[in-house]
């Protein structure tokens, strides 16, 4: 494993960030193990569960399928960047009020994915929300309260 490390200069949640990474390291592992942001979760490492969803330059991606080196010069947003000094993001507030989480492991991914939808489509239909979130698995809630929370956040933002 004697490879040279790559220097990555990126923006994470609006702040400039620099780190060194091995070329094979995923964005998920870089966020969790190098940058220290453990809000993005490992569920499957093959892009099927969405627990690691982050936003890169306005697109939601499974961070387990993106190499850390690829975000050089890009803008990355994670669940840790959603709340501000003014308080929770409307989606976070709605998830709490609608009991849209049980164990909470999929919640960061659902929040980032939902924000990716509402940033571009402020008033999505229920069908659109369900379609958009079909890449994120939740095994606890049966999805209904997540859908309700996204609708409520859309109404409140």
């Amino acid at each position: 494993m004697a490879t040279d490390k790559i220097h990555v200069k990126t923006t994470i949640n609006g702040r400039p960030e620099e780190f060194l990474t091995d070329p094979y390291v995923s964005l998920l592992d870089a966020l969790r193990e190098i940058v220290g942001l453990t809000g993005s979760k490992e569920g499957c490492l093959d892009g099927n569960c969405g627990a690691c969803t982050v936003n890169v330059n306005g697109r939601i991606v499974d961070s387990c399928l993106v190499l850390a080196a690829e975000v050089d010069g890009q803008k990355v947003e994670t669940v840790e960047g959603m709340a501000s000094a003014d308080g929770l993001h409307p989606l976070q507030q709605a998830f709490l009020e609608e009991a849209a989480l049980q164990c909470g492991i999929c919640t960061p991914g659902f929040l980032v994915a939902s924000k990716g939808l509402l940033d571009n489509e402020p008033n999505p239909s229920e069908g659109r929300i369900r379609h958009w979130l079909a890449g994120n698995l939740c095994r606890c809630t049966g999805y209904e309260n997540i859908i309700k929370a996204v609708k409520k956040a859309a109404e409140n933002s």
Binding site: G36, K41, G43, M82, C106, L137, G142, Y143
Partner: protein, 754 residues
């Protein structure tokens, strides 16, 4: 001891929906789950697993892996302390320890064989590839038919199995037991109609999104600290201590958040492995995260199996006899959900003559684990399908027939236990009066076919040990410590019961879950026991706190304790007009004898049997077999919904898991005995796009064994969907599918063959 509580009608806190205490950490990404634990000097571990379903280990050569740069230690089963004296190990402990690192034989693909610690996760994975294992490949046993066949390969060569009290060797049936009530065999001759059918089910996985993980630090003073994703930190402590031959007081199991369990995180896989690696790596902390393929191959499935149901009814619409043969796949080691399956199968009905034959069957698949009402969905699929068919044959109303035969207070379950007060009839009546049952199916597309099914389900729910500690803070708030893993809002459901008792808002209760050294033993979160039993301990601790506070008020008022009353958060003098609330008392309490604290521990033997019903409308595309649930109503007796949003959430989530089980989910086993579909792409769980909204109707027939009437809610809802879906398929296509999953191929077969 059994105390009977009167059900109270009006509560201030119970039945409301506050924001859960741990919610803020969980929506901001701050909550610490097992994989998020960071310790100074942390290194990584990885597990090498068997590529074969059944093989004898001839040799393991770890030398190349040990020499790799960055590797600290390589271990095999011989490094497990209790294996140093194999002959002295209790047989159950021996099976458990052999499951965490195989000894002499591997019994399923994914069975751990060796483990490595290294500076980083990638190096640990690479080092595993350098371990050379020589196997003698054996023929795999893939299902119960193969397991019981003549000359079947035997999984456990040292087995001493109990078959109806007789010890049997050289068998894959790890246990055979029987429940009998009345005389089922003879009473069938008095039945006017008898139906007997066979059902086959595949294994399914709990499908928690968070993989298993463990971090262990074995220090130089032989104290072991553990962090792992588990439903029971005390079980992790006790089992790990057992494997490592350490006293439990030398092991501290720390609480971390858990990303789903559903019963699958009641087993211990990684903590002992990480612990041994830690010790052998110069006492460095070691973290292991199981990858998803290994989660499927090496952890948790719920048993598949074969179930034969025979039910006899009289022309008057009474079930007079029931006989059930259940063979469940235990996986590689004994201990499937067969004891519960044998009780749950006929628990919904008052049947005078019952025979249940139950078999725990070894197969070359991972050791099965609990999955939400373990054993009950499988047997209910069989029994509720037969009930449906009998009702159709006899042209009986499917709900009225069930009401006429429903279990009630005083009915004897198949294991002979009598029910106390239960709410099954009330639940059936609620289903009968529901909007869903009284509306027609919404047949929107004339190119599709539609059907409706109904089915019932039962789970006994659990009691067991729980501890709650309370501290009255100087500002009048309450610090609450409890030992139950919180998988979905139980910090709050326990705090609400304490708040109700103390007459305070739930926001004044601040719950924490400390490590195993700082709270009394609390059993694993499972069996729908937490809101019931830990909530009971919370109620008892709150009452003890009130008694202690009364003593302090008595000192302050210089009045005898007996003259002081407590109601709705206030102390009153019976003889004067003195009055004081808890907040005010808190500011004056120190001169009366220092802080006020209380602790309560319970060990509850009985819980509140729970019953549920699923009503399911399906839309089937007859050309592709694609099946969608378009409407589903779950009706359930919850006893009392402490935290209704989350009680409903349990019911919805359970129903959706049951629907996934019914339609899609299975361990697809290849000819060589290995699982073919080890990713979420191929093991397809329901997505947001697959599911309709689930209507929930909660019936509240208070459980007299709990101060607020709680029965437990989490498990019952997964029981009815399998048969509700199967019965709906029968309604739509005219044909029944007798196996799970009821996937498109099978649906097309029944449509084509009529």
């Amino acid at each position: 001891m059994t105390i009977n509580f009167e059900s109270k009608k009006k509560y201030n806190v119970i039945g409301t929906n506050p924001i859960r205490h741990d919610g803020y950490d969980k929506v901001t990404g701050r909550a610490i789950y097992g994989a998020d634990v960071k310790l100074p000097g942390l290194i990584w571990g990885e597990v090498l697993r068997s590529p074969y379903a059944h093989a004898r280990i001839k040799s393991i050569d770890t030398s190349k892996a040990e020499k790799m740069d960055g590797v600290f230690a390589v271990i095999t089963s011989k490094d497990i302390p209790i294996n140093k004296n194999r002959s002295g190990i209790d047989v159950n402990l021996k099976r458990d320890v052999d499951n965490i690192l195989a000894y002499e034989k591997v019994l399923y693909k994914g069975h751990p064989v060796a483990a490595v610690s290294a500076a980083d996760r990638n190096t640990a994975k690479e080092a595993c590839k350098l371990i050379e294992v020589k196997y003698e490949i054996l023929e795999p046993v893939k299902n119960v038919d193969e397991a019981i066949a003549k000359n079947a390969p035997i999984l456990l060569e040292d087995i001493e199995a109990d078959h109806l009290g007789k010890t049997v060797n050289n068998t894959n049936i790890a246990k055979h037991f029987r429940h009998e009530l009345g005389d089922a065999n003879n009473e069938f001759k008095n039945s006017d109609y008898i139906l007997e059918k066979e059902f086959n089910l595949q294994m399914v996985h709990q499908g928690y999104i968070e993989p298993h993980n463990a971090t262990a630090h074995w220090d130089e003073n032989d104290h072991l600290s553990l962090w792992s994703s588990t439903q029971g930190m005390f079980a992790v402590r006790d089992l790990t201590a057992g494997f490592l031959d350490l006293p439990i007081s030398k092991v501290t199991s720390n609480y971390v958040e858990i990303g789903g369990g559903f019963g699958g995180k009641t087993k211990v896989y990684l903590p002992p492995v990480a612990a041994i690696l830690s010790k052998k790596s110069g006492h460095k902390p070691v973290k292991i995260i199981m990858d998803r393929i290994s989660v499927f191959q090496g952890s948790g499935p719920a048993p598949g199996g074969k179930i034969i149901v025979k039910i006899g009814v009289t022309n008057e619409g009474k079930i007079n006899s029931g006989a059930v043969d259940i063979k469940l796949e235990a996986g590689a080691y004994p201990g499937s959900a067969i004891p519960a399956a044998a009780v749950c199968c006929l628990a919904c009905y008052n049947i005078p003559n019952i025979r249940v034959d139950a078999y725990d069957v070894l197969v070359n698949k991972p050791k099965s684990a609990a999955y939400r009402a373990p054993g009950s969905p499988q047997v209910s699929f069989a029994v509720e399908s037969v009930i449906d068919e009998i009702c159709e044959k006899m042209t009986w109303d499917k709900i009225d027939f069930r009401i006429a035969n429903a279990s009630k207070e005083g009915t004897r379950k198949p294991d002979g236990v009598l029910y106390h007060k239960i709410g099954f009839i009330e639940t059936l009546e609620a289903a009968k009066n529901s909007d869903h049952w009284n509306s027609k199916i919404d047949k929107k597309d004339k190119n599709k076919i539609y059907g409706r099914g109904i089915a019932c389900g039962y789970w006994h729910n659990g009691g067991n040990r729980s501890t709650v500690d309370l501290i009255l803070q100087d500002d009048g708030n309450i610090a609450l410590n409890e030992g139950s893993a919180d998988i979905g809002g139980t910090r709050t459901s326990i705090s609400m019961q304490v708040a109700e008792t103390l007459g305070m808002p739930v926001e004044s209760i601040h719950p924490s879950i400390p490590d195993t050294d700082k709270i009394g033993f609390t059993a694993t979160t499972g069996g729908s026991r937490t809101t019931y039993a830990t909530g009971y301990a919370g109620w008892e601790a709150a009452n003890k706190l009130i008694e202690e506070m009364k003593k302090r008020v008595s000192i302050l008022w210089e009045e005898p304790e007996e003259e002081i009353d407590f109601a709705d958060g206030n102390f009153y003098s019976k003889k004067s007009d003195l009055k004081m609330n808890i907040e005010e008392l808190a500011t004056k309490i120190n001169p009366t004898g220092g802080p006020v604290t209380s602790t309560a521990s319970v060990n509850l033997s009985a819980a509140g049997n729970g019953f549920g019903i699923g009503i399911c409308d399906l839309e089937i595309d007859p050309h592709t077999g694609k099946t969608d649930v378009i409407r589903y109503t779950a009706v359930q007796d919850v006893g009392k919904a402490i935290y209704p949003q989350y009680a409903e959430g349990q019911i919805r989530g359970g129903a959706v898991q049951g629907i996934g089980w019914a339609l899609n989910e299975e361990y697809y086993i290849e000819k060589d005995g290995t699982m073919a579909n080890t990713s979420f792409l191929d093991y397809r769980m329901p997505t947001a796009l697959d599911m309709p909204n689930i209507d929930v109707i909660m019936v509240e027939v208070a459980n007299p064994l709990h101060p607020f009437g709680v029965r437990g809610v989490g498990e019952v809802p997964i029981v009815p969907p399998l048969a509700a879906v199967g019965n709906a398929i029968k309604d739509a296509t005219g044909s029944r599918i007798y196996s799970t999953p009821m996937k498109p191929r099978k649906i097309l077969e029944v449509i084509d063959n009529g």
